[in-house]
Every structure is written in structure tokens, then in C-alpha cells.
């Protein structure tokens, strides 16, 4: 008893082939879309790799790029097969490959589903990479003369401006590190010497933030230095001042940006998987309906199409039997050879 049996006549077969061909071309475009999303994601990770300690995992975008390319190839081939299926002479040369091709399609669909799952799960390692990378980014902010780190200041400033964030968790992270390079500190000044002497590590700490933390929407010009000192500014209370600097931490902003990106890509990949499953089923119907023609010489004859030749259970037990017989076959061979060796 076949699974989901459908009767086909000539007209139905032609319609099926045309529809599945159309869907295959749609699926090729979906493959191109997946490829370009992988490329875009890779570029975004590269742009900010400095802030992630050059340590971020490119596994997911590489997988997406590979999947996109394979999808294009498989779907183009499937479309060609559909196109030729209406012409019996052309279809004959594709027929032997179809069973293997359908197996490959099923495997590919499973892989696509795994990719979609990864898109949703890889957020967690990204969170850790970002936390670590941003902490180091802020530490190296002042090292504009150290080769390899001289652009950290610019990258961090541009990131804080673009993502509207300040510091790692919030702006107070800047109070805990020295972000002014020693080259610009006058060590003969008393104030500088006091500050450096006031902490164990000998760092010049201050309650100030870089200019990139400033919020342009603030009604007053930005207050970035002496932020916790209410008397340093007229009509200023740092407890109630909200619009002066960005309140959000950069780890949160970047994570929400990348998380949103990965969620969207994951959703798209799920949709593409559903499309791929649909075209695989369509191709199976075409294959089975063309194989069961009542009268092979007459193209107008009736035929049947199905998804599985037997029911799910029977197909499953068939596969298990085949695997067991393959295992037994090798054993019998060995036994036979051993017997022959001993006899001879």
C-alpha cells in the first residue's frame, strides 16, 4: 500500500512537471539568497572582528555559503530533470540517477534544517566572544601607538556612535580603566601624580567617558568629564541626568544586532527548507508516475504516483533488512573464503 497514492493522467503529469519546474527555479533563487545572506553575515563579522578579539567563529557563515551553493546546484539539476521529464526520450537518460538524486535531496534537506537550528543556537558562543572582546577593546583604547592596536580607538569610537552605546555593561566601565594615553599626560603636574598614586595599578583613572558616548539628543552640550561631580557644572545632577550619554552597554547592543540578524537568517533557512521538501516530494511524484505507466509505449496512458512505494513502517523495515543482509553478506564472504583457504 503506497504512501499518499495519486492517480495521474497525461494532463496532470504535464501540469505537475511544469509546476515543479517553476518551483525549482524559485528554489534556485532561494539558494542564491541563502548564499548572499551567508556572505553578508561573514562581512559583518569581519567588520567588527577587532572588537571580538579576532576570535569569532566563522563556522556559521561558511556553512550558509556552502549550503547556498549546493542548493543552487541541486535545484538547477532538478529543474533540468523536470524540464526533460515531459519528453520520454530525454527522460530515459536521467532515470537511473533519480533514486540517488532523491536520496541526496533528502540528506540535503536534513542538513538545511541543522543549519537553521545552528543559526538560533550560535548566539550563545557569540555572547561570550563579545563580552571578552569588548573588555579588551576598552583596555587597548589608549594604545594608539602600539602596532596592531592603533586603530582600536577609532573602531571603538565609531562603534559606540553607530550602535548608540557606551562601555561594556554601561558607561561606568570607562571609570575603571585608563583610556588616556600616557603620552598626553603631564607627569610633572600634581593632579596627575595624585590620581596615579591613588590606585594600586598606577593608572590614571577619572570619572569621564570618551566623546563617542555622547548622546546628540541631549538638550545641553555633552558632559563627558567629571561626570559624578555635580558641582562642576551648573544645574547638573548626575543621578537624574538621562540624555547626556548613552545608557546602554555595547555588549547588549551588539548582541541584539547580531542576534536579530541570526534569527532572521534562521527563519529564512527554515522557509527554504520547507520549499526544498516540497520540490523533493514533487520530483518523487514525477519519478514514480513516469515509472508506472500502464502502457509504456503510449504517453497518454494513466499512471500512479506516490511518495513511498510501501508504507512508512514497511519501508523502514526494508531498509533495516537491507542493512542486515549487507552485514551478513560480508560475513558469509569471509566465512566462505576461510573455508576455501582451509580446504585448499
Amino acid at each position: 500500500m503506497a504512501l499518499m497514492l495519486i492517480k495521474f493522467d497525461m494532463k496532470k503529469r504535464v501540469k505537475l512537471a511544469q509546476t515543479v519546474w517553476f518551483m525549482y527555479w524559485f528554489a534556485v533563487m532561494a539558494g542564491v539568497l541563502v548564499f548572499s545572506m551567508g556572505l553578508f553575515f561573514k562581512i559583518e563579522l569581519r567588520k567588527r572582528s577587532e572588537l571580538m578579539d579576532n576570535n569569532e567563529s566563522h563556522f556559521l557563515p561558511n556553512l550558509l555559503i556552502l549550503m547556498g551553493l549546493v542548493a543552487c546546484g541541486i535545484n538547477a539539476f532538478g529543474g533540468k530533470v523536470c524540464y526533460d521529464s515531459l519528453d520520454p526520450s530525454k527522460f530515459v537518460k536521467w532515470k537511473p540517477m533519480l533514486k540517488c538524486f532523491l536520496m541526496v535531496c533528502v540528506g540535503f534537506n536534513a542538513l538545511l534544517l541543522v543549519t537553521a537550528l545552528l543559526c538560533f543556537l550560535m548566539r550563545i558562543p557569540l555572547q561570550f566572544t563579545l563580552a571578552e572582546g569588548l573588555k579588551n577593546g576598552m583596555k587597548y583604547y589608549k594604545d594608539t601607538d602600539t602596532p596592531g592596536r592603533c586603530y582600536m580607538k577609532r573602531t571603538l569610537d565609531l562603534m559606540q556612535i553607530e550602535f548608540r552605546c557606551c562601555g561594556n555593561d554601561n558607561f561606568r566601565d570607562w571609570f575603571e580603566i585608563q583610556w588616556v594615553s600616557n603620552r598626553y599626560l603631564d607627569f610633572s603636574a600634581k593632579e596627575v601624580k595624585d590620581r596615579i598614586g591613588s590606585n594600586v595599578d598606577g593608572q590614571y583613572l577619572m570619572d569621564g567617558v570618551p566623546f563617542s558616548c555622547c548622546n546628540p539628543s541631549s538638550p545641553r552640550p555633552c558632559i563627558q568629564l567629571q561626570m559624578t561631580n555635580n558641582s562642576a557644572y551648573y544645574s547638573y545632577d548626575h543621578y537624574t541626568e538621562e540624555l547626556n550619554v548613552w545608557k546602554r552597554g555595547c555588549r547588549d547592543s551588539m548582541l541584539s544586532y547580531y542576534g536579530g540578524l541570526m534569527n532572521t537568517i534562521g527563519l529564512l533557512v527554515v522557509l527554504v527548507t520547507m520549499l526544498e521538501v516540497a520540490v523533493t516530494i514533487g520530483l518523487q511524484y514525477i519519478d514514480s508516475s513516469l515509472s508506472t505507466l500502464v502502457n509504456p509505449e503510449d504517453p497518454e496512458s494513466e499512471s500512479e504516483g506516490w511518495i513511498l512505494e510501501k508504507t512508512v513502517k514497511e519501508t523502514f523495515t526494508d531498509i533495516m533488512d537491507k542493512m542486515k543482509s549487507m552485514g551478513k553478506g560480508s560475513k558469509v564472504d569471509e566465512g566462505g573464503e576461510a573455508a576455501v583457504a582451509t580446504v585448499s
Binding site: T144, D145, C150, K153, R154, D157, L158, I161, W179, V180, S181, R183, Y184, L185, D186, A189, P210, F211, S212, C214, P216, S217, S218, P219, R220, P221, C222, Q224, Y233, Y234, S235
Partner: protein, 343 residues
């Protein structure tokens, strides 16, 4: 003697019709492109209209949108005519409309030429509007409590950050206006009183710039206050310091942005004019080839196609003569009426 005659047989006619149909669809896509560029330009002008005193002229983007829509319509119609031209029955219903259609295409090309010219010329207007608008923006920077101007600070800050510029001509423009609101100045402080009294208009002027002028590429944390006072900062010389704040003025930055946009649009329009002319020439050849078939019943016969039925000079002379006769007919009619009235 026809202008640029070409002999056609059935195969050539079919090839011409098919090629022309494809070119017409390409022109439709170009029309859509012009439409979307017009919308993009309009949005960009709107985004920065505060910098231009809400006074900028939307003539060019509106014209682009109109031209884009017209291009789509005209070219879609032309494509339909081409598609039907291979079937004599369908082509018969389009035949009478073709001459006015070609004249319409000529008019449309003239409109395109006008638009391209405007794209290049309106850049001067944009420059003047920008100069005036930016000057006022800097003046209203501090008025974050005045309705209608409360977002000027944010807009100007974001513009300076995005376009990497400072002030109108350069950063010294900020030294000449008071950009801190009086609400945040302690008027009882001696320092503040000195500064306010030190100039005629009673403005609190200082040699500082807003934070949005800061250049993130500078190796040292941004110096925005006491810019001209070398002793206020360690190891600082304002004459040689180059990376601290943006040195370009915002008028120049914004103008170069808009002018490059308008120049590219102008170049695209000129390319569209060339494409439309090719379309018109192709359609003229196709219609004349279909009209001059020696044996109308036999689709396989030969025919001639041309751009103009007579030479360029003769066609021009004909047009002038026609215009003159139109004028003379009016006069004759008036003269005829007058004697009748007299009788």
C-alpha cells in the same frame, strides 16, 4: 530619397520586432530606475531640509518621478506595439495611433533633456540654500527648548558625525556663536559674566566646538574646549594638530554629496535619452517596413524601412510649409468671415 533606407525581408522584420521588444522592456526597467532615484533624492532632501531652512526646491525630484512614470508608460506601450507587430490583424488596430505616438516620444525626449539640464544647473541653487541654512542651523543649535527648533541640535550633531565636518566653512564658525543655552550658564559666576560682557551682543562666546566635531581617528582623546589655548592641554599645538577635529566645513561636505548625486542622475538621464532615441528609430523602421509591404497578403514579401520619408532638409521644409499654411488658413478664414459680415 528616404533618409537611411534599409531593405527588410520577413526574417529581418521578425528579428527587428523581437530585438525592439527587448529594448523596450529594458527601457521600462530604466524608467523604474529613474522613478526610484527621484524618490530617493526627494527623501534625501527631506531628511536634510532642516539644514536648508526648509526652503529647498523639490523641482528636480518631482520632475524625475514624473519622467520615470511617463517612461514606464510610454515604453510599455511601445513594447506592446512591437509584440503585436508580427501579427497583421493585431497590428492593424495600433496603426493609426503610431504617428502621434512617435511625436509624443519626441516630446518626451525633449522633457528628458530639460530634466538633465536642470540636474546640472540646480546644483547652484542647492549650494546657496545650504550656505544660508547651515548658518541659521548653527545659530539655532542652542535653542533646544524652542518649539520648532528643538531638534536642530540633534540634527546638526548627527550631520557633523555622518558627513565628518565641523561648522559652515570650518570649525571657527562655532567660535562666533553662542552654542550653549542660557539655561545651562550660571549667570552669577564671574567667568560667565566676563565673557558675556566682552562682546557687543552679550553672547557667551568661547573657543570650543561641540563633541560632534571630534574625529575618532585622532590618537588622543578629543580636545573640544580651549582649542586655541596651547597651554591648556599637555603637548598640544593647535596650529599643527590636524586629526583632533574635522577640518572640513559642512557646507562643502553636504554640497559635494548632493552634487555627486545630481551629476550621476544627470548622466543616467542622458543615457536614457540615447536609449529612447534608439527605441524611436527602431519603431519607425518597424512601422515603415510593415507599411511598405509589396504584397499585403503575403507576409513573406520584401519591404523597405526608413527613418524619414524624404531627406532631412525636405522634411524640415515640409514642416515649415505646413506651419505657414496653418497660419494662412486662419487669415483666409477671417477674411472670408469679414466680407460675409459686411454683406
Amino acid at each position: 530619397m528616404p533618409f537611411m533606407p534599409v531593405k527588410f525581408n520577413l526574417q529581418k522584420r521578425v528579428k527587428l520586432a523581437q530585438g525592439l521588444w527587448m529594448i523596450y522592456w529594458l527601457s521600462v526597467i530604466v524608467g523604474i530606475l529613474l522613478f526610484s532615484l527621484g524618490i530617493f533624492f526627494k527623501i534625501e532632501l527631506r531628511k536634510r531640509s532642516e539644514m536648508m531652512d526648509n526652503n529647498e526646491s523639490h523641482l528636480v525630484p518631482n520632475l524625475l518621478i514624473l519622467v520615470g512614470l511617463l517612461a514606464c508608460g510610454v515604453n510599455a506601450f511601445g513594447g506592446k506595439v512591437c509584440h503585436d507587430s508580427l501579427d497583421p490583424i493585431k497590428f492593424a488596430k495600433w496603426k493609426p495611433m503610431l504617428k502621434p505616438f512617435l511625436l509624443l516620444c519626441c516630446g518626451f525626449n525633449a522633457l528628458l533633456l530639460l530634466t538633465a539640464l536642470l540636474c546640472f544647473l540646480m546644483q547652484f541653487a542647492v549650494y546657496l540654500t545650504l550656505a544660508e541654512g547651515l548658518k541659521n542651523s548653527i545659530k539655532f543649535y542652542k535653542d533646544t527648548d524652542t518649539p520648532g527648533r528643538c531638534f536642530m541640535k540633534r540634527t546638526l550633531d548627527l550631520t557633523q558625525i555622518e558627513f565628518r565636518c565641523c561648522g559652515n566653512n570650518n570649525f571657527r564658525d562655532w567660535f562666533e556663536v553662542q552654542w550653549i543655552s542660557n539655561r545651562y550658564l550660571d549667570m552669577s559666576n564671574d567667568l560667565v559674566k566676563d565673557r558675556v560682557l566682552s562682546n557687543v551682543e552679550g553672547k557667551y562666546l568661547m573657543d570650543s566646538v561641540p563633541f560632534s566635531c571630534c574625529n575618532p581617528g585622532s590618537p588622543r582623546p578629543c580636545i573640544q574646549h580651549h582649542l586655541t589655548n596651547n597651554s591648556a592641554h599637555y603637548d598640544y599645538d593647535h596650529r599643527i594638530e590636524e586629526l583632533n577635529i574635522w577640518t572640513r566645513g559642512c557646507r562643502e561636505a553636504l554640497f559635494s554629496y548632493f552634487s555627486s548625486m545630481m551629476t550621476s542622475i544627470g548622466v543616467l538621464i542622458i543615457a536614457t535619452i540615447i536609449l529612447e532615441s534608439v527605441d524611436m528609430a527602431g519603431l519607425k523602421y518597424l512601422t515603415t517596413a510593415l507599411e511598405t509591404m509589396e504584397d499585403p497578403e503575403n507576409p513573406e514579401c520584401e519591404s523597405d524601412g526608413w527613418l524619414l520619408e524624404k531627406g532631412v532638409k525636405e522634411t524640415f521644409g515640409d514642416l515649415l510649409a505646413k506651419l505657414k499654411t496653418l497660419g494662412k488658413t486662419n487669415q483666409v478664414v477671417e477674411g472670408g468671415d469679414a466680407p460675409e459680415a459686411a454683406n
